[in-house]
């Protein structure tokens, strides 16, 4: 057996030093801006808080790319009254505890606004700290819990799950006449939002799901839940989970002989979902999305061209909504002459902007879009349902 060893004293010293550094960097006094970039000259500092590592890293990457493109274009056109916008990226690893830590740093770092996070749970974690510091944030999260915060500093660049799922349920039941529906959702912030919204929509049409299976966000083996679903023989399987997990569920569903049509919200409209599941497995899937494809109109095509030129790959929903969100904040900064705090928040609310996802008109809870569209996956691409 290994005999116990006393830790070397330099090991202990290093540990103490590391703890001290972590403690100091972790608590900046909230609200005391190092040097507020709101007034006067110098760059306008905006924080981007997103997962650049971990399971949600794709979402964070797409959001950052979308925001960067909008800011680059704005700066090239002269910025805000001659002042450039400077973005600082914070990696929150898709972990709300890390996000909270970052929010404290942002609160005392002289940032006038936040882009992020891409995940609802992280945005909800940040919101109280940013509200106290009077820093508006525009998030790509879509959980109804974000609107339920009633936070004057929180804005969504997408409709909430409620809208996504109502559009989807209406299409399935009223347009396609499909009433034999099973559900599988995860119990994360996004998944629970999807679960509750979709189940309520089905109930309003008098439909009870044939199966209502819950999985954890990091689950990998869905054999038990999917076999239970297969025994009920549904025509539609609603999936409420993030891109990768949805893709794994779809892949395993087909491997277990489930022939049902998959239906779901925004994550199912991404190339990531299709690639993870396998394009042949998701043919005919029904997607409710606020941004179906890059070919919708001249605006989306121009955006896609610029995005491809900048990043070498085609954009999708997350990049598009982040781009729209950034454009709105840029307009608000221009309209308010680089205001900060509540003035900037009110300026954002006052922006009426027709972007890639539609026309934004924010309500008091920060929701600006109230419509999504239905698409069908054909040959690995999402096309508008006729």
């Amino acid at each position: 057996m290994i005999t116990a060893r006393k830790p070397g004293h330099c090991g202990t010293g290093a540990a103490v030093l590391a703890l001290a550094v972590a403690a100091v960097s972790g608590c900046g006094a909230p609200g005391s801006a190092a040097s507020s970039s709101g007034s006067g000259s110098g760059p306008i500092k905006i924080a981007v808080v997103d997962a650049q590592s971990g399971q949600s890293s794709s979402l964070g990457q797409w959001e950052y790319d979308g925001v960067k493109l909008a800011v680059k274009q704005a700066n090239a056109a002269g910025g805000i009254g001659g002042r450039k916008i400077m973005l600082t990226l914070f990696d929150d690893q898709g972990d709300p505890t890390v996000t909270t830590d970052i929010a404290h740093k942002v609160a005392s770092g002289g940032y006038v606004a936040v882009f992020g996070a891409a995940e609802s749970a992280d945005s909800i974690a940040m919101a109280p700290i940013l509200q106290r510091a009077k820093i508006p944030a525009i998030t790509s999260g879509q959980s109804p819990a974000l609107a339920a915060l009633h936070d004057p500093y929180e804005f969504l660049n997408t409709p909430t799950s409620v809208t996504y799922d109502k559009t989807l349920a209406d299409y399935l039941v009223k347009t396609r006449g499909l009433r034999s529906i099973a559900m599988i959702t995860n119990n994360g912030a996004y998944g629970m939002g999807e679960h509750d919204a979709f189940k309520a929509d089905l109930a309003s049409s008098g439909i009870k799901p044939l199966a209502d299976e819950i999985v954890t966000p990091n689950a990998t083996d869905f054999s038990a839940d999917l076999t239970t679903i297969r025994q009920k023989n549904p025509r539609v399987l609603f999936i409420g989970a993030e891109e990768v997990e949805s893709g794994l569920i779809a892949k395993q569903a087909r491997a277990l002989g489930i022939k049902a049509i998959f239906a779901g919200g925004a994550p199912m409209g991404t190339p990531l979902f299709t690639a993870t599941a396998g394009a042949s497995n998701v043919e005919g899937s029904i997607v409710s999305s606020a941004y179906l494809s890059n070919n919708l109109n001249a605006k989306t095509r121009a955006f896609a061209t610029a995005y491809v030129a900048a990043y070498g790959q085609a954009p999708e929903l997350h990049g598009a909504k982040a781009y729209d969100g950034a454009q709105i904040v840029i307009r608000a900064l221009r309209n308010s002459h680089a205001a900060t705090g509540l003035k900037l928040a009110n300026a954002i609310r006052a922006v009426h902007y027709t972007g890639l996802l539609g026309t934004f008109a924010f309500d008091s809870d920060g929701v600006g879009l109230f419509r999504t569209h239905i698409g069908i996956i054909r040959n690995g691409q999402v096309v508008p349902a006729s």
Partner: protein
């Protein structure tokens, strides 16, 4: 009944992957007494190399796996060589060194492959086989078969070859082994390389059933570590049994406890470890008395 059997089949498939990861942990622990905390991230790197070789370079899947094993084994050699000076001075520092290497591997992977990850299509037998209402994926059978071959290979190495004997000699009595001319450093390097190779095999095979991104390391690392502990840390047959057991535990837990499945899995694991701390087959490691 159908749900039970199907869950069993699914659990064995994932269990075989955990078994491979557990074997990698165990062979290093058995011969060096070291828990290699970079092991999960080595699995991740192996998965990325195989995915890139298979999809970007369009090589046959088997070749992609072999390339991954070779390159990842080389990474194992590098880690061992860098940490070798600590091996007989302070094992705790060497362990912390492996944690550091894990972080480095994750950062390097993001630099090389980006943050988005890779979805890998199933390379063989994409259609499941329906056996009396139970669906079996041929690919899962392949994983189980390869895990068995790997286990047999490792057993053969340790029990029947000079290299294996040397590795166990170093573990049993470092001074005596060195005295008879065994190069302990090289022997430990071999252990690390084999461990890394097993990690690469696990990662390469896991790619098509999961999703290859930087967080794969953490998931595989924790599951493989738990599997190794269940079976007896350092014990090769224990790694197989522990891996399969952990795969079944996770699968059934998800089926019966749904949203609470993670909690239940690890509570059950904790109870087993409290009852039998050295695992099913007992712990096997160096004699450092």
């Amino acid at each position: 009944m159908q749900v039970f059997v199907q869950t069993l089949v699914g659990g064995l498939g994932f269990g075989a992957i955990y078994a491979l990861v557990a074997m990698g942990f165990s062979i290093v622990y058995r011969t060096m007494g070291l828990v290699n905390f970079a092991h999960g991230d080595i699995v991740m790197v192996g998965a990325f190399i195989a995915a890139t070789s298979y999809m970007s370079s369009r090589l046959p899947f088997a070749l992609a796996v072999l390339i991954s094993i070779a390159l990842t084994a080389a990474i194992g050699l590098v880690i061992e060589r860098v940490l070798r000076p600590l091996e007989h001075r302070d094992l705790d520092l060497m362990l912390i060194g492996t944690i550091g290497f894990g972080i480095v591997l994750e950062a390097l992977a993001t630099l090389v492959w980006g943050a988005t990850g890779r979805a890998v299509p199933i390379p063989v037998g994409a259609s499941p086989v329906d056996i009396a209402g139970i669906f079996v994926q041929p690919y899962d059978l392949l994983i189980i078969a390869l895990a068995g071959v790997a286990a047999a290979g490792v057993w053969f190495l340790l029990a029947r070859t000079k290299t294996g004997a040397a590795m166990q000699a170093v573990a049993a009595d470092y001074e005596a082994a060195t005295a008879v001319g065994i190069n302990a450093g090289r022997s430990n390097a071999m252990a690390f390389a084999i461990g890394a190779g097993l990690a690469a095999l696990a990662g390469s095979l896991a790619g098509p059933v999961l999703y290859v991104n930087e967080s794969l390391g953490a998931t595989m690392g924790i599951s493989g570590f738990a599997a190794a502990i269940l079976g007896g840390f350092g014990n090769i047959p224990g790694a197989i049994v522990g891996g399969l057991a952990f795969g079944l535990l996770s699968g059934f837990s998800a089926g019966y406890f749904h949203g609470d499945s993670d909690l239940v899995t690890f509570v059950a694991f904790a109870i087993v470890v409290m009852i039998r701390p050295t695992g099913i087959f007992g712990e096997s490691t160096v004699n450092r008395a």
